[in-house]
């Protein structure tokens, strides 16, 4: 048996993709998540929204997601139809809220917005 006595790190990152018709706004995001007016969950998703905004970068092709056939198809179709496609990464190294959503797996969509945070690597 081997015993490791020094630090063991266990970090993770979630790659997310956001597809939107027009600008990705807080209002669209809250509607997608299903928040009603004065929902106590607003501060939680407001912070997640700003994390997305801070960490997202414009994507102009689907090469990064060549392994994920379904996501690649969605990105290709979205780019063809002129939708805005962005991607980025959440980290488990920062605060607890970001760590939680980083390690969670989610996919949300409605008529104007699609968010894919399914891929999570520990």
């Amino acid at each position: 048996m081997k015993i490791r006595s020094d630090f063991v790190t266990n970090s993770s990152s979630t790659s997310f993709v956001i597809v939107s018709k027009g600008e990705f706004t807080k209002e669209l995001f809250f509607k997608l998540v299903g928040l009603q007016e004065n929902s106590p969950l607003i501060p939680v998703f407001e912070k997640l929204f700003f994390l997305f905004k801070e960490k997202m970068a414009v994507l102009d092709n689907s090469n990064l997601f060549a392994d994920n056939v379904e996501l690649k198809r969605i990105i290709d179709e979205s780019l063809k139809t002129g939708k805005m496609v962005s991607h980025g990464k959440l980290s488990s190294e920062d605060d607890r809220l970001e760590s939680f959503f980083c390690t969670d797996s989610f996919e949300m969509k409605n008529d104007v917005l699609y968010i894919n945070g399914v891929e999570c690597y520990w």
Partner: protein, 152 residues
Amino acid sequence: MIEKITINERESDYYSTSDSKDGFLIILPEKCSFDDFLIAAKVEPKTYGSVLVSRLYHSLMTFSINVNDEYCKYYLKEYDNLDLFLFWKYCIPFSISKKVLAQLQPGEIVLYNTFSSGCSWTADAFIDDPIMMKTLTEIINEVRRSYRENSK
């Protein structure tokens, strides 16, 4: 009402000071449903928000111990009151149990859970992060307020 239990108050940047008995005490109406949580959280059904609330509800209600029930069924003769029981059975400091029990209303129960046994990652995160904890507290307070209104 939700109160976090931290057995070891010391903090260290180099090693974990968490204890296997670290967890939380929570007061909820005895007959509290998922729909009550959903209404209190003000989220639409079948959305990611509702999935999150569902996970939160089930991790609080399913994996926690109803300590009122346990005390009344098995320990009533052994301990004079609930805070003594919580201290000797679960090592919950009196400062925490007294604070929680003072808030207990008729028709409500006290639930206890530890982060090391059966507490889901969702509940753990909601209790550990200050923003998420504020949200959870608001949901619980609204569930309790609504229960009291409806039982008048």
